[in-house]
Symmetry: C2
Subunit: 335 residues, 2 copies
Amino acid sequence: MTIRHSAHALLPLKIIATGTALPPQCITSAELDIRLHKPAGYVEKRSGIVHRFHATDDASHAELAAAALHDALGRHGLAPDSIDLLIFASVGSVQALPCSAVFVMKAARLRPGLAGFDINSSCVSFISAMQVAAGLLNAGTYRRIAIVSADLASRCLDWQHEESALIFGDGAACVIVECGDGTSGIAASLSETYPASSDLCEVRAGGTRCNPRTGMQDRDFLFHMQGKKLFRQASALIEGYLGRLLASAGLSLQEIATVAPHQASHLAMEHMRQRMNIAPDALVDIYRHRGNQVAASIPTALHEAVISGRFNPGQPVMLIGTAAGLTLAGMVLMP
Amino acid sequence: MTIRHSAHALLPLKIIATGTALPPQCITSAELDIRLHKPAGYVEKRSGIVHRFHATDDASHAELAAAALHDALGRHGLAPDSIDLLIFASVGSVQALPCSAVFVMKAARLRPGLAGFDINSSCVSFISAMQVAAGLLNAGTYRRIAIVSADLASRCLDWQHEESALIFGDGAACVIVECGDGTSGIAASLSETYPASSDLCEVRAGGTRCNPRTGMQDRDFLFHMQGKKLFRQASALIEGYLGRLLASAGLSLQEIATVAPHQASHLAMEHMRQRMNIAPDALVDIYRHRGNQVAASIPTALHEAVISGRFNPGQPVMLIGTAAGLTLAGMVLMP
């Protein structure tokens, strides 16, 4: 009864639609220079970003997610009622209870009675959700799944900490998948977590650790990152990790046509470019105009690959990212 | 390449171990009578609970989850390193970033490099996690998955609101699954969410809705429930839902040997007993000595079914629950 997703066989999965959404406020680095009392050009040089988008503090997280879902449905003429599972795959939740998928279904006016749940593996949540969706579709549990990633990093930026505050942008992306006919699918997927580094990138509030009963401060709600340490840890692991991912796909790096990485930072993108040693166009780089969109980053990059003609049958596409955790995750897709 | 999980075919899944953990503090209803200045017997009568367990405010959520995982491993002599995916399936998270699975891996001293993520569908998170695990195992993505549900409701009880404060208990449970040989598995699973009722049961803080940037109060961190409305909504939907779940399994209610329900409340358990019309022993009822353990409730009830000889080959077992959302979820397992 079981199918085995061996090293060189495809696990069937077909991407039938992609879409994105951005909040209306475009924040240029030039504006931030003024707001933060810096010389002209400082923020762009420091962050590598021309502009990013930030939601206002009263904007709805669920509505941004719903806009990405409707963008994907609308671009491909799909009926909202044709979705039979909604996976919300993000870092940030709307509130502690109920789960965020409920609020996205409501904001998107999806049919009552739909199934939905949240998946969270930090900035690589979308990769976990794609693994999960492929499993559920191949088991026949669902037939058409919408994965929506939406994050509002602006709600937890610490403006006293430039290294992180300058690099994040808000956004949402949606990818709709079916089982397909088996000609497209997942050639390999691999996720590895190294919890010894869990404090290198964190937001301490939002759960059982910091709340009114245990004691908390406003700063516990802010993003804390030890960027250099995190980068060093990730760099030490990535070589071995990449080898294992490629071996599992039965492919060499030269055979990967497109890489859609997590747009983590200027430094991370530059490292990816050097490490991958692939043609400039093969690396999806939207960092300068989006910043790091947390869990929405990888599906936004995948959408960019699709609309820019870099997601083509027979040409392997790699999703890859390092996330708080520390987690390394990647997936090789055959479009 | 795909297998279809038709109405009457089993999706292979084998439970190879179960375990639970409780915090050390047993809180009797008699103690609460005194603490809340009520007449003797008041809390037990109002809640239907003799005792429940509450963690102290400095106790670690991840350590409780890790204890349930080690209980499951230890009872069945399984090596921790044999797990290749950890799914944390709970309502409450440890903190906003990174995901909680990271902290459970760390607390449980699992091997670095393990895969993990969180799944949240409110109080029925465990049912979603079982669906997901079956998909991943049948796709061959993983071979042995540990699902851990752990919730500390005590961190968000509103002691001014008896209806909810008196019914919750903390706890954790773990179920370890493999694909198996196909003789055991999922005969049906069904999840339906009705988001119009999302505000009937909620904790508003913990995400993008209520935080220092958007404005928040201590009460936003507390559990809010409109119990009667929620019960009425759930009761109106459950008949139709149960019919759909059984039809999908190709079974009648009389053929279900054991029901392991979400131990939601005294009223909900009584309704389940009447509605199900099954032998008293066939309904797993641990509510009087646990209370409502949120997402840990269903896997704790399943563990109880296993250790009390009510999970036997060839005898269908139903997991079922209603959750904040409003979500109805259920699963028929063939042990």
